[in-house]
Structures are given as structure tokens and as C-alpha cells.
């Protein structure tokens, strides 16, 4: 570390923390520890057998969708996860909700590990955590009326409620998302995309959850409707004190909606920061490139960063830092050693050797 580097860059390197550190866990609602998920590409056992050099060998290939993700979601915040297509955002969301079983790692909700629970043991958590899906045209059962769709979670989680109470709750939740309760006898396909997404939100809110995973909830909607639905989600957060894990690739939405942002690249988290910090001072080279790609009206902004090449295939992961092939600051250490998330002075956590060594 020389003095010029110290002058040029903030001396913001504070501590190298291990992925399993617990200092943040006091107020965190959901903890993801070293989560990994891979998908097999090679089919069943018989399809894996190959002849190679006269010998029968078992050949297996995997898509490494997420490789050691660590996230803490604090009570009451909206943590946005951004990244380009195929970086594992949705896989994180689906693994958190138990739709996928993780290959390795732990997920804890309010201090209790949930990734290894049976579906029966998970039921009390289902009431506390809900999910909103991307495509409102596919997320409502086409053969069920809205009333039936909204009653189902209530009947499951409140078996002691009578018909009247269920009805009242459905009416309440429908009007809270701006759908006329009189439309309950209609089917999903009779509504527009925005209305359907409102109904999907109502379904998630019906059981009064405290945590909602939203997997690109507005990206399938018309631009004019996106803001309405986003506002609805923010109102719900304020009124019901919700915590969000919000998956998106729309940086404008992140700026508007997120308390904190996690940037993902090829199945790893490269930077976590509060929204303002991330947009003002992106640390990780990938985050810098990503933010510079936002089209803006000002013409005095610096030339946007062009990354070389393409995202490597998640089948054969690069050694070391997954970003090293495209990073202008990569050196031998980046090619060999996988960087861990390091907490900076302002609380931002960055997984980058260059930032750690103050080369950047």
C-alpha cells in the first residue's frame, strides 16, 4: 500500500470477515450462509455412462447456478438483488422459498434453520414468508376463481376460521390491493396483467406474512402499470411492516424501491451496499460497469465501461474470481483465489481482491 493509492482511494478496508460471521444476525430476519445450488445436466445414471479410452466412466456435468451466496436480510428492509440474466437471482429466491433444495449451505429464518425441514415442519414458515412471481399470466390457476385462489391459503393456514371470517379476510385483502371484492367470482383470465399481479400480491398478503420474496414482480408488466404495482408493494411494506427480497434486473426500480442492494454475477454476490452508497460509489468493477450502463440524460457523465467478452458458462466456472476474465483490474491473485465479501468502512461489503488491496 503506498501513500498515493491511499490518497486516491478511500482507505476503506476495515476487516476481512469470514462468510459465517454473525455480527449482523441480531436484527436479520433471513440469513443465507454459503448457499450453493447446482443442476445436473447429465440425466439419469445410464445416460451418465460413457466410454472413454476403452473404459466405462461416469461422466457428470452441472450448471453451477449459485456458488456460495451469503446474504442477510434485515427486518423491515427491501433487499434488492440485481444482476444480468442467468446470474442466479431467481435460483436464490426459489431456494429461499423451498421450491428448490440447496446443494450446500444453510438458510435460517428468524434464527431457525429452514432449508432441511420437511414440508410439514415448514408449514408454519409458509405463513410467515410468501412469494410473488414474475408472470401474472401463469401464476394464477386458470380453472379457479379469484375467490377460490385467495381462500385457499386462508383455509390451509387457518383451519379454525369459519366461512364468514375467511370471506371477510378475502374481501379485506382484495380491497387492500385495489381489486373490487365483487369480482371474486371471476377467473384470472378475465383480468389485465396489472390486475392479475395485484391478485397475486393479494394471495401472498392473505396469510399476513412478514417476509415476501418478489421474483421480478413487475418485469412482465406494461411500463405504465409497473409504477402502480411498485407503489402497491411499497404501500404494503409500510402498512404491514414487510421485509422484501426483491429480485430484479431493472436498476431504476432498485433506486426507487431498495433499502439495500446485492449485486450478483455468475452465482456469486460481488457487492452489497445501501442503495444510495451503491449508486453513488460503486466499488466492485462489475457494479461500476453495470451502473455505467444505465442510460442517463446528462451528457457530462463519463464514457460507459465496456466489458470485454461474455459471461462465462456456469457449467465450467472460471477459477478464482468469477469475474476475472472480463475485469480490467484482474491479476494473478484474481485468477487463483476466490474473493470473499469484505466489509468496508461505510458498511458496504465487496468481494474483490482489487478493492481489498486498494488497487482500485
Amino acid at each position: 500500500m503506498n501513500a498515493t493509492a491511499m490518497d486516491l482511494k478511500d482507505a476503506n478496508l476495515e476487516s476481512v470477515d469470514t462468510p459465517t460471521q454473525n455480527e449482523e444476525s441480531a436484527d436479520s430476519l433471513l440469513q443465507i450462509r454459503n448457499l450453493k445450488k447446482r443442476f445436473s445436466l447429465s440425466g439419469d445414471f445410464l445416460e451418465q455412462l460413457r466410454f472413454k479410452g476403452g473404459k466405462l466412466i461416469r461422466h457428470r456435468e452441472y450448471v453451477h447456478a449459485i456458488n456460495g451466496v451469503n446474504l442477510d436480510i434485515k427486518r423491515g428492509e427491501a433487499l434488492c438483488v440485481v444482476g444480468e440474466s442467468g446470474c442466479g437471482k431467481s435460483t436464490v429466491a426459489r431456494t429461499v422459498m423451498g421450491l428448490l433444495t440447496p446443494t450446500a449451505g444453510e438458510i435460517s429464518y428468524a434464527g431457525q434453520r429452514i432449508d432441511n425441514l420437511s414440508s410439514r415442519e415448514l408449514l408454519p414458515f409458509r405463513k410467515r414468508m410468501q412469494m410473488i412471481f414474475q408472470n401474472p399470466y401463469a401464476s394464477l390457476n386458470p380453472r379457479m376463481t379469484i375467490q377460490q385462489t385467495l381462500e385457499e391459503p386462508l383455509r390451509l393456514h387457518h383451519p379454525d376460521w369459519n366461512r364468514l371470517k375467511v370471506q371477510e379476510k378475502v374481501q379485506e385483502v382484495m380491497s387492500s390491493v385495489g381489486i373490487d371484492p365483487d369480482w371474486g367470482k371471476r377467473f384470472g383470465h378475465e383480468f389485465s396483467g396489472g390486475q392479475r399481479q395485484r391478485i397475486a400480491i393479494a394471495r401472498a398478503l392473505a396469510v399476513d406474512p412478514e417476509f415476501i420474496v418478489a421474483d421480478e414482480p413487475i418485469s412482465a408488466l406494461d411500463v405504465s402499470i409497473q409504477a402502480q404495482v411498485l407503489n402497491l408493494l411499497m404501500d404494503a411494506q409500510r402498512d404491514r411492516n414487510l421485509t422484501y427480497l426483491f429480485i430484479t434486473h431493472d436498476l431504476a426500480v432498485v433506486e426507487h424501491f431498495g433499502t439495500r442492494v446485492a449485486v450478483m454475477y455468475l452465482g456469486t454476490v460481488c457487492e452489497i451496499a445501501t442503495t444510495a452508497t451503491l449508486f453513488n460509489k460503486p466499488r466492485h468493477p462489475y457494479t461500476q460497469a453495470l451502473l455505467s450502463a444505465i442510460p442517463r440524460l446528462e451528457d457530462d457523465r463519463p464514457q460507459h465501461i465496456r466489458l470485454k467478452g461474455e459471461v462465462p458458462t456456469p457449467v465450467n466456472l472460471p477459477s478464482g474470481c468469477v469475474f476475472h476474465g472480463r475485469c480490467p483490474y484482474a491479476n494473478t491473485r484474481c485468477r487463483q483465489e476466490i474473493p470473499t465479501l469484505v466489509t468496508q468502512l461505510d458498511g458496504t461489503r465487496v468481494a474483490c481482491h482489487a478493492v481489498e488491496e486498494n488497487r482500485l
Partner: protein, 323 residues
Amino acid sequence: MTTPTVTQSNSQTTRPRIPSRWERLRDSYLWYSFKRDHTAQLCLAIFIGLVIVAFASPLLAPTDPYDLRQIDIMASELPPFWIEGADERFILGTDAQGRDLLSIILYGTRVSLLIGFGAVILQALLGITFGLMAGYLGGRVDALLMRLADIQLSFSTLMVAIVVGAVVKATMGGAFYSEYAIIMLILIIGLAEWPQYARTVRASVLAEKNKEYVDAARVMGLRSKRIMFRHVLPNTLSPIFVISTVQIANAIISEAALSFLGLGMPETHPSLGSLIKSGFDYIQSGSWWITLIPGAVLVILVLSINLLGDWLRDVMNPRLYKG
């Protein structure tokens, strides 16, 4: 909240009436297409007509062909009314045992329909359950059930019928077999052809189970059984309807073929197939009507079902009509 109130006030001014189930049907593409398709209308009319007549046969038939006292052997092989030598008591003539052909065709159609529907209900129960499980649960369950289906399909219905028939006749005796022939045939045809259903259902389940409403149901915490039967199954009904029409026709044909070969309904309680068989011995001696009239009824019945199935397939084909 600003946006919700906007929607609410909009909805109050233009609140449409919720249509009833009947109105939904009348507005549906199914009804629209049915109104324009004269073939479908004719086929449905013939089919419903045959079903009503067949199941009301004890009331409509001039004689009871199962009652031996009403049979006069001297009146055997009488021709239908438009041929010289006909007896006015027997409009369509009589068979070789002197039974009134009209009555026995009505009773026989009832037997054929019973076996057809019974077998298809059994096929559907087995096939839908196995297909749903194979498609939704996947993995080993899928592999096991689909290999079972492959094995089942490699036995022809005929072979199953011969084996089951032989075993039952050898162990329980011929009288027992005759008495329970309808149940036997339902079991044989039902068990032999469930893989058709299972494969169709599995294919649609594979397409449906990756849709987000299934994920939403899983996130809700619903159990697999409820998701399969309450969420996935209703969305695979279109192909099930279509295949059901084809399978009813197939089952009736299978039953007729088995009876024609002497493996099906006994002469005393004939189905359309056994009637054709019983008349077949006399076709060379000029009594063609004993075979041809039941044969024509069988053809009309199966043809009308098949044409209805064709129409239904066209209507429910999502590539032609998306809804």
C-alpha cells in the same frame, strides 16, 4: 394509496354482472363451435338417442330376449318387415334362436355401452392417477410407472382377455364367467388400455407443473396430493375429454372384437359383438340381417362417437383456439 382508489372508482361505474355457469357455457367457444358444426350436432343427437334407447330398452323393447319363455324357436330366422315372409311381430326379424332382433339389439347396445363406459371409467381412474403421479412426482416414480405402462401396452387387449378368460373359466367355471362377463370385460379392457390415459395425462402434467401457479401452490404449503388433483388435474382436462371419446369408441370396438371371437359376452346375454358373431354362421344361408343390422348399429354408434371426438379435439386444440 392512490392507485387502488382509482381502480375502485372505475369499477363502481362500470361494474359488470358476474355471469352464471350456463351463461359462461353459452359464451364459450365450445358452444359457438357446436352451434355451427352440423356434423357434431347430428352425431351428438344420434349418440344421445342411442344411449337413451339402449338404457330404456326394458321399457321400449317389444319382448324380453333374456326371458326364455318369450322365445319361440319355430319363429327363428324370420326376415325384417320389408322382405317377404316377415312376421309383423318382429319388425327387424328374428335370430337363429327365434329372439326378436330389435329387442336383442336394444339390449345388446346397452351391454356394449355399459362395457364401453365402464372400461373407460376404469381406464381413466387408473390412467389419470398414474399419469398424474408419474408427471408430477417425476424421478423414480415416473420411471417405474411408465415402464409398467410400456409393459402393459406390449400385451394386446386380446391376449389379456384370453389369459384372464382362460384362468377364470378354469378356476371358477364357465357359468361363473357368463354371469360376470360384463364385469370381466370391463376389467380386461380397462386394465389393458390405461396406459393411453397415463401417457396423455403425464404429457400435459409435465407441461403444467412448471407453471408458476403450481409454484405458488407449493409456496403456500399445500400438499402434493392436493396440488395434483386440485391444481394440475383441472388444467389437463381438455386432452382427457378428447381421449375419452376415442377410448369409449375403442372400448366398444374391443368388446365387439372379443365377443366376436367368443371371448366376450355369452349368447344368452349378447352384446352387439356377440350378435354379429351369432349371425355370422347364417350369413351364407341367406339370413344376413342377423349379422348386418347389429353391425350397422355398431358402426353408427362408433362413428358418431369418433366424429364427436374429432370435433372436440379441434375445439380444444390450444393451437387452433387459445383460451
